[in-house]
Assembly symmetry: D4
Homo-oligomer: 166 residues x 8
Amino acid sequence: MANTPQVGILMGSESDLPVMQEAGNILAEFGIPYELIISSAHRTPVETHDYAVNAAKNGRKVLIAGAGHAAHLAGVLAANTTLPVIGVPIDSSALKGLDALLATVQMPGGIPVATMAIGKSGARNAGLFAASIIATANPELQEKLNQYRASLAEKVRAANARLQAK
Amino acid sequence: MANTPQVGILMGSESDLPVMQEAGNILAEFGIPYELIISSAHRTPVETHDYAVNAAKNGRKVLIAGAGHAAHLAGVLAANTTLPVIGVPIDSSALKGLDALLATVQMPGGIPVATMAIGKSGARNAGLFAASIIATANPELQEKLNQYRASLAEKVRAANARLQAK
Amino acid sequence: MANTPQVGILMGSESDLPVMQEAGNILAEFGIPYELIISSAHRTPVETHDYAVNAAKNGRKVLIAGAGHAAHLAGVLAANTTLPVIGVPIDSSALKGLDALLATVQMPGGIPVATMAIGKSGARNAGLFAASIIATANPELQEKLNQYRASLAEKVRAANARLQAK
Amino acid sequence: MANTPQVGILMGSESDLPVMQEAGNILAEFGIPYELIISSAHRTPVETHDYAVNAAKNGRKVLIAGAGHAAHLAGVLAANTTLPVIGVPIDSSALKGLDALLATVQMPGGIPVATMAIGKSGARNAGLFAASIIATANPELQEKLNQYRASLAEKVRAANARLQAK
Amino acid sequence: MANTPQVGILMGSESDLPVMQEAGNILAEFGIPYELIISSAHRTPVETHDYAVNAAKNGRKVLIAGAGHAAHLAGVLAANTTLPVIGVPIDSSALKGLDALLATVQMPGGIPVATMAIGKSGARNAGLFAASIIATANPELQEKLNQYRASLAEKVRAANARLQAK
Amino acid sequence: MANTPQVGILMGSESDLPVMQEAGNILAEFGIPYELIISSAHRTPVETHDYAVNAAKNGRKVLIAGAGHAAHLAGVLAANTTLPVIGVPIDSSALKGLDALLATVQMPGGIPVATMAIGKSGARNAGLFAASIIATANPELQEKLNQYRASLAEKVRAANARLQAK
Amino acid sequence: MANTPQVGILMGSESDLPVMQEAGNILAEFGIPYELIISSAHRTPVETHDYAVNAAKNGRKVLIAGAGHAAHLAGVLAANTTLPVIGVPIDSSALKGLDALLATVQMPGGIPVATMAIGKSGARNAGLFAASIIATANPELQEKLNQYRASLAEKVRAANARLQAK
Amino acid sequence: MANTPQVGILMGSESDLPVMQEAGNILAEFGIPYELIISSAHRTPVETHDYAVNAAKNGRKVLIAGAGHAAHLAGVLAANTTLPVIGVPIDSSALKGLDALLATVQMPGGIPVATMAIGKSGARNAGLFAASIIATANPELQEKLNQYRASLAEKVRAANARLQAK
């Protein structure tokens, strides 16, 4: 189906939505269908497990998971699928996301989670990274990524031009 | 059954056994039947899930989980049972167990994991804490805990006596 | 007595009450009688010692202690009782609770403190964990814990439903 | 060409080879052609830049970069290609890889680096993650990944069987 | 030319300008011509590379680079020039600049970056340090630095006098 | 009595003796009578409490406490005496003494512990600091401290002379 | 002279005054004459050196130094006097006082600095600790310290009474 | 004089010599006269002060200071000269040089210290950075730096050639 989500973006709590929506916004810019799902590694473990187990046959190509505190969501997804799983640590505890970062990135051998920076910039990069994965088999998307990258450079150049004009 | 394990001690890897055996040794001192299980949150998620889901009806009263790196095992067990779950962070990564500590202790609201110190002293304390849980409904075991505590004090006093005699 | 507190919730300072009340609220939900006590490891050491020494014979089954800075309260209680002691690190210093976390969790061998996450979610989990300890000998309470857990899952599902309906 | 490397594994120093070879070994297990390249972000910036700029047209699909200290290699590659770049922090400084981890993972918005755990297990996971990316358009490889995952589970089960047989 | 900038102050993002302007203000106090440039290590790598490669022949004597997150800008400049490069870590991520500090200071052997404190005081010190470099061959500027230092002492003495007069 | 110990050096475990003996050695150099005591905040809380409560009337003028892990010993002494208490964090856990440092130094308002560096140099400094406290009312001891300080300077000068003679 | 300050409280910057005044307030409660001095280890090194060198002969018995960032003030004082020096780390940088704490407490062997907690509670404790040093030779002051301690306990008891009365 | 040292390399202890000699070796490669001096900020503060105060008129152009623990040496030098001061944190404490890094780099506004990486690679970079400062007024030395940089690149290329030839 044309509209089958290619990327599943999961988060454990409604409060993580403002961060994880950033990943979705990037995917939308690239025309990649995605879905946002609230599913908790700890509070709805069965749904989370089932989502991961069925993700590939349901047409997902990449999963993105955002979580704070002892962030287990990305790891739990990765344990139940061999699709690429991208983790976004969220700064929602007293430790400012250091806990979520270490709980996401320090995965033991065999079960990789591709970890991004803490917070919104990490969520945007998760969207971009998912696009770059899909683009490995999609030259048109690859070209869009190149154009997006060029537009980032253009924004830096414009900012510099504003500064020089002061 | 008299010998049904009351405590399940789980670890994700054979290499964690020298640490987690310490928990078992303490339980053995108190005559509490236990079992040691290798089951990985990430590599055998289904077995781990099933163990947790069935632990209560199989007669377990307390679970202990030891893990290093992004230590998810205790959290995954806690997500699938309401038995008390005790977590032991293990120092098996470059970050000396700080990653395992934060990934174990910083659980989000709703799914507690009772976290002990990093490494062998944490594993011993996990055994003791499991005993103290069981003892809340077992006066005889409570009395053994009191005697054990007295024996710890006696060892400190003996060490001090040796020092004063120098 | 029916109303003898089964759980003692201690804190060293009145300013910790908004955090530690969360533990009490959870216990109230489960119908477990508890008491909130302000008693400082450092400023009222005798009262703190006496509370711990007498806790078991006064009918307490579990103690919960919340403290910030160099958080010694849980450890001091644990040194004077063999009841299960649960520690809640509180974020009340410049170091954002990392000091309280390490001072609570890194207990030496022999004297366990079951440590929860920093702050309010840790306090709620302390209440839940205390309930799970008491439930090991109380099937009715165990059943309530299972229902509570199911309600947490239901809330996640409801949040997801709201999101999908957008 | 059948043997065109699909994955480029770069490192800044010969001393990083024992770690980064682990990524290559995994790719070899999956029959994915790769190359190992020593190229420094700081000491051979032009070669590093040129490698990244030409990687896509030279047939690379994924890049892996390992570095210690202030690890810039993955970020410099990512700045010059829109191929997926995977970063492996290496523990080669006094700070045990925490510096390399933060310098790799905390990329600003727009230029993602998919970060793995510090050291050899991270390098192995980088190889696996690269395979999972390529597998998104290669069902046969996807199947191999599933088999590999099954073999990891089997090893855990075998270890548990050995333990139970003691 | 009299007005050729002797110091180039680079930053990766317009949002870093309020911090890096502090370095410029100090240079202005000493009458040292400087320029402020927005150029990103990751989003405009070619411009950044070209700036560094041509800095010496364009008359720059010292470069200052400010960046947050995984701060690569100073390192990328240092990789492409042998002029002295001064790095200013900026506190713009959840980790409060610790990431930027480590990513700036922990440079591998061969490519030094002179790192200052995180944030505005670091930016001011970067300006002063650039002045002290230029002053090594400019006795008049050296004298101005001595006077500036004397004025700092005078301010401390005046503050103390105010305090004693209370 | 001439030989009444003026300084009590306490430690929780025999294994801390090689570190804490350093404090005693310094005191011996200054002719200050001291005693070394093994007494644990957690395993012999009553003896530890009694020692602190009676320290002043038994002639102690300063207490020194060394502990690792969640180091509570100095704090527990300080809670039970208003004599000056000096804390020495010991590096005996996976976290390299950072836990002991924070658990010793981050005391809440009202109950100070004078904290030294982690390990043997901290223990030596604890001895010196105890001497400097006693010297505030003992001009002869003050003079000895000045001579000791001069001897430290002499050692540095001698080391420099050796270096210059190479 | 009756009013010769016995305690010198130094700080490097006027902005540290609200923290360090807390130390003075405590000393005032005990009737101990003190002075507050702004003198910077880095900006007025000669005055700072001279203050320390002459402190003993000017009648000071204890020095207290508060500083943020790379806090050198206490160490510089301690290098130039054998009077007891107490250090108070101040949270005035991006790193929340962790830098000041480590720069104050980790003194090398031979030159102790008695370090207190970060911030205002540390400053209050510095005042109390200075009082406890002076009290070692002043039984009347020792008695006041005991009363102060008793008043702290009374406040905790009163807070608990308020809580129980709710 | 032709042989007047242009760079003074200071360290507080003989045990730091193996690290700091690396800085000297680099300067020797470039034919820059230097001296190695043992002088402690804390144990020989007068000599250290005098060295800094007289460094400029004695012909020094740059100072390098290496220190561990609460590393104050570079800051103390910088407080007493306006010559450029480069700091090298040394890993000689339990905290692995993190203490020395923060105590060196987090200098307050007005007194910059140019901080290098922890340990030997930092010392080498200190030598290189001193050379780059002197080279700002010495085109011949600038050319040598460019050649040195080229030789570093050549070594990387040679290492890569060896790897490709395997």
